[in-house]
Amino acid sequence: MKRTLMALAAVVTLTVTGCGGGDDNPLQSGTGGGAGGGSASSGAGGGSAPAGAIKVGAADFPESQLLAQLYAGALKAKGVNASATDPIGAREAYLTALKDGSIQVMPEYTGSLLTYLDKSATAKDPDQVYAALKTKLPANQVVLDKSAAEDKNSMVVSKKTADKYQLKSIADLAKHQNDITVAAPPEFKGREQGLVGLKSAYGFTPKSFRPLKSSAVVQALKNGQADAANIFSTDPAIAENNFVVLDDPKKLFGSDNIVPLVAKANESQVSAALNAVQAKLTTQNLSEMLKQVTVDKKDPDKVAEDFLKQQGLA
């Protein structure tokens, strides 16, 4: 009886640890909740991993899990003994895991990580953010090359609107401000990375503003209740609905390029393989892969494998 109970307890523990987080994008809040830290060492404990084995961590949202699979797949293709962990949690949790050696590689975002390490950071341009980030990292951690792919706030219009007004950037949108209704979450109205900044950086004051929840924002843009919307740049809805992401020449929304954060001791072992992946990633192909994961419900490891094969990386 006792043995049965123990076995049952073990199964329950495994099941609970295996469950990932929800779909919420913790980038939005900068500092997410610290939940999930307990599963940091699921799989193999940090110390017991065989020499040379690389664990790629993942945060608790689908994009991070996908990136972890991409990195792990690319490493395996180069003969490195690598695997992706189960989702760990928010930034607080996975940075601890990296520090204590439970993981060696972690997909990160330049802007979000920089503001996490240095609250007063002001850099906005991708290269400046990347350079500033390198100076703020702990001594035993390094970042590899940043990729062109970014996950950040962006202004998005429908294909029809983009064609109608010949829109390429937010500056073009500002020229037609009297015809533009903007849909975004309610807080967009009062934020610097929102209507306030759009006005000061681009002189853009929309005709009207529709405060909506995130899924309703996509609906509003799709059905024409809004002409422009605030959506994350890798949101699968962009590819799905042929939305057009407008350039942000004034860098109002900063830069949040994807970058691998690596334990210094493992840098030489992983840098070639991971930088090859970084070179191939774009916001668009990342968003397409993310669509396969969140909309078509494919396994992240399968999607990652297909992409690596396609790009000649595996």
């Binding site: 209704t181 849909a183 979450p185 309610p186 807080e187 109205k189 009062g190 934020r191 009207s208 529709r210 405060p211 909506l212 929840k213 309703a216 609906q219 509003a220 799709k222 059905n223 024409g224 209740q225 809004a226 002409d227």
Partner: protein, 253 residues
């Protein structure tokens, strides 16, 4: 906190413009008024007919069970189902689900008020009217409806109170109204606006109730006020919530 709320309420700048209190107040009354109107057009004739004819009284029970439906959940469900049906730069995908939800909220008290008002008319009065040779329609118009007015009003006042208080949720699917201050205030940590708007909603609901109370005093026959208290005491056991909402101040002049 009280000071901050007061400052927010008395700052003239907060009252003007599209995001101002005046505009939000008008929007709030518009959503509430439209919902009450639609609910009244449906529930008052239906309740009267059910009580007068004695048929389909299960409808009143069924409508009462609607009170158990959580408005916010229903709002999100309705908005998901309906929002893709509208295209173009219009408020309809947000307005239609909100009005539907508020109408559903207002129907049960209105229906119960009309139904119990007409049903509980003194049978002696009804029989006397028939004995005088009145037709069914005449009995309804000249005897049953005037006698039912106190309970119809109590249903209306109860519905108005609930609809005005609940219309704040319309802001959560993208409409305005006083709920917009709650939505934006919570999102942007502007708690003075959120708290100030809550005060305004409460004041608005009480003011509407007061107004309807005055109208009720003007239109209800004075002769009903004394008999009302006597009959009320007799049927306290089966009083509907709508009837229970009829305060003693309305019943006795």
């Amino acid at each position: 906190m009280i000071n901050q709320i007061w400052t927010w309420l008395t700052d003239g700048a907060n009252w003007s413009g599209d995001d101002g209190i005046t505009h939000r107040l008008v929007q709030h009354l518009w959503y509430s008024g439209l919902s009450l109107l639609i609910a009244g057009v449906i529930a008052l004739p239906l309740g009267t007919w059910i009580a007068h004819s004695g048929r389909a009284s299960w409808l009143v029970t069924a409508a009462n069970s609607l009170r158990a439906v959580p408005s916010l959940g229903l709002l999100f469900a309705a908005s998901m189902l309906l929002s893709s049906k509208f295209t173009g730069d219009t408020d309809l995908p947000y307005l239609v689900p909100s009005i539907i939800v508020l109408t559903i909220l207002a129907i049960p008290p209105l229906l119960a008020g009309a139904y119990s008002g007409v049903r509980e008319v003194d049978p002696a009065a009804r029989d006397a009217a028939r004995g005088m040779g009145m037709t069914g329609g005449e009995v309804l118009r000249q005897v049953e409806l005037p006698n039912a007015l106190p309970l119809i009003f109590s249903g209306l006042r109860s519905a108005t109170l609930q609809v005005i208080a609940t219309a704040t949720i319309a802001a959560y699917i993208g409409l305005g109204g006083l709920g917009a201050f709650l939505r934006d205030g919570i999102a942007l940590n502007e708690y003075d606006a959120a708290a100030g708007a809550s005060v305004l909603v409460a004041v608005l609901a009480l003011a509407a109730d007061l107004l309807l109370g005055v109208v009720q005093r003007l239109v209800v026959s004075p002769g009903l006020r004394t008999t009302r208290t006597r009959t009320r005491r007799n049927r306290r056991a089966d009083a509907t919530p709508a009837a229970a909402a009829l305060g003693p101040t309305n019943a006795r002049s």
